[in-house]
């Protein structure tokens, strides 16, 4: 009797979360889907007719889409490469016996807590500015021509900033994983005369594979939606050279008020994210059982 009661109660306690998330996910998504099939511009009142897949056709054949698709790809893979490689290196370093390890950890972790607009503006103005930035002063001091980062390599500059933000996350997750490594295994390998490289490739790296997969998938979810860093540094330019899909949809929707086109883009973005999400869910699902 008590169990039936508590089961009913448990269901009621779940209800608010489920209803809210359902509403948050289904209602707007259905609206986006609906908008993506109509000709609807906020600047052109009254003009809302069904146009089939025309919005998708325009969005997917727009050269801007191709450019931002590949920018998104470069941005995500570039940041992943830097943060995973750097993160593994940092994790191994922080796992060693060192003096003041807590302080080192605190310093490494700090960039993750800096809000995106602050980190982007600090890097853009105070470090990467070609006239007054610290890198420019440094280049002149060494006798080089200062680099105009955001004019010459806008996307790469954004990759650097975003990598700086996400390196701590990768390092922290990988450090947690490394610390769960069985020390006896390493000692046994030492006794067998294994060098540092074979220890790394045959013991450490396989042990980390799970955590690396998790970092890749989680970062990808967030990196697909990079927005603030682009808005405050390049606004997607010059041209479309630093526009990613998220930013492209933002400009179409809220700067050009093209509800139909922006919605079609939104649905495309949802499909791309879903492909990543499926892999992530599998990984987490496995963990839930084990």
């Amino acid at each position: 009797m008590a169990t039936t009661n508590s089961r009913t109660l448990a269901r009621f306690m779940l209800l608010p979360s489920v209803i809210l998330l359902l509403a948050w996910m289904i209602v707007p998504l259905c609206m986006t889907l609906y908008f993506s099939f109509i000709d609807y511009n906020l600047l052109v009142p009254g003009d809302k007719e069904f146009v089939g897949f025309l919005n998708y056709e325009f969005f997917l054949t727009d050269p801007a889409f191709f450019e931002s698709f590949f920018n998104t790809l470069y941005l995500v893979t570039g940041v992943l490469l830097i943060t995973i490689c750097g993160g593994i290196g940092l994790a191994i370093l922080l796992d060693q016996a060192i003096w003041g390890r807590n302080y080192v950890r605190i310093m490494v972790l700090a960039p993750f807590f800096v809000m995106p607009t602050v980190s982007a503006l600090v890097w853009k103005n105070m470090l990467m500015n070609p006239v007054n930035g610290l890198f420019a002063h440094f280049a002149i001091w060494l006798g080089f021509e200062p680099i105009d980062f955001f004019a010459q390599m806008p996307l790469f500059s954004i990759i650097i900033i975003v990598s700086w933000q996400w390196l701590p996350f990768a390092a922290l997750i990988l450090l947690t994983a490394i610390q769960s490594l069985d020390r006896e295994q390493l000692e046994a390998a030492d006794l067998d005369g294994a060098g540092p490289f074979s220890k790394f490739f045959y013991i450490v790296l396989p042990h980390l594979s799970r955590a690396v997969t998790a970092v890749i998938l989680i970062e990808t979810i967030f990196l697909l939606s990079i927005f603030a860093e682009i808005l405050v540094t390049t606004s997607g330019g010059p041209g479309y050279s630093s526009t990613n899909i998220t930013y492209l949809i933002y400009t179409q929707s809220l700067l050009q008020f093209d509800v139909g086109g922006g919605s079609a883009g939104g649905i495309v973005a949802v499909i791309i994210a879903n492909i990543v999400a499926i892999f992530l869910m599998r990984l987490i699902g496995k963990n839930l059982e084990g």
Binding site: N125, R210, Y250
Partner: protein
């Protein structure tokens, strides 16, 4: 011989670790230092780490010339408000999933996570239009609602993993003693779960404080939290490095301190339990 060797390797590792972590931390340190410089010193061609006239002028200017405190307060209300509201909704859900498991529990958890993976641009237009129609644009209430919803899955998930660690026997014992469900939750479960609830709250305050998609899109002058206010420095005020630094320093220092307390929870919360 080996002891001497291990001392030497410890020294080398220490130097390497401090150098690299110093480089990673440098942009933040540089921002903090620049915030105490005059504008002229901030763009000087021979910048200095300490040999300049330290001044609080920038902090005074930022606080007096812009409605800085207003935006700071918006950040506090939005991040704390959404986290508390989120707890109110998430604690019961996590409790029921952790202690009254059914076959559907796992699927439900996964489904909740999947909502977190929905890219914001997928719902950008409807949310914007709904906010416009319900007069929620540029209001704190609107942002509290959005923040609560986007962080709800992480909250439920984190709380679930904490609640799962509470031994069921304790709850059963209290039931044997005739405790009602309410008593069970408030006198038995909550005191044990409080550390987990506190870390969930902390992580969510941090995540909402730094959220920079919806805050930039849904706010203007009124309800803009610090993320959106700092974005207004992108041009041309960004040329005033010392003021940008002072405004940035005040925006990031409180959360840096909170963040250092929540290191461990960060792994648990952001990896959705994939890494423990």
């Amino acid at each position: 011989m080996t002891i001497k060797n291990s001392r030497r390797s410890k020294l080398i590792y220490t130097i390497a670790a401090w150098t690299i972590s110093g480089m990673i931390f440098f942009p933040i340190l540089w921002t903090l230092i620049t915030s105490f410089k005059t504008e002229a010193e901030a763009i000087s061609a021979s910048p200095s780490l300490y040999a300049f006239d330290w001044t609080l002028e920038n902090y005074r200017d930022v606080l007096s010339r812009s409605p800085y405190f207003n935006h700071f307060w918006n950040s506090v209300v939005i991040s704390l408000g959404s986290s508390l509201l989120g707890l109110l909704i998430a604690v019961p859900a996590a409790w029921s999933m952790a202690f009254v498991q059914t076959k559907k529990t796992k699927h439900l958890l996964m489904w909740m996570l999947s909502t977190k993976m929905l890219p914001p641009v997928g719902v950008l237009i409807p949310i914007y239009l709904l906010f416009r129609d319900f007069a929620l644009l540029d209001t704190k209430l609107g942002l509290v609602i959005v923040m609560t919803l986007i962080n709800l899955p992480i909250m439920v998930w984190m709380l679930y993993t904490y609640f799962r660690e509470i031994p069921n026997e304790i709850l059963e014992a209290s039931r044997m003693d005739g405790a009602t469900i309410g008593e069970e939750i408030f006198h038995v479960l909550l005191p044990i779960a409080l550390p987990g609830i506190a870390s969930t709250l902390l992580l969510n305050v941090i995540l909402s404080w730094n959220e920079a998609f919806w805050t930039l899109i849904l706010t203007a002058a009124n309800a803009a939290p610090l993320t959106a206010f700092i974005a207004s420095y992108s041009s041309p005020e960004g040329l005033f490095y010392a003021k940008l630094s002072a405004a940035s320093a005040m925006a990031i220092v409180p959360i840096l301190i909170l963040g250092w307390f929540s290191q461990k929870q960060l792994v648990r919360g952001l990896s959705f339990g994939a890494v423990k």
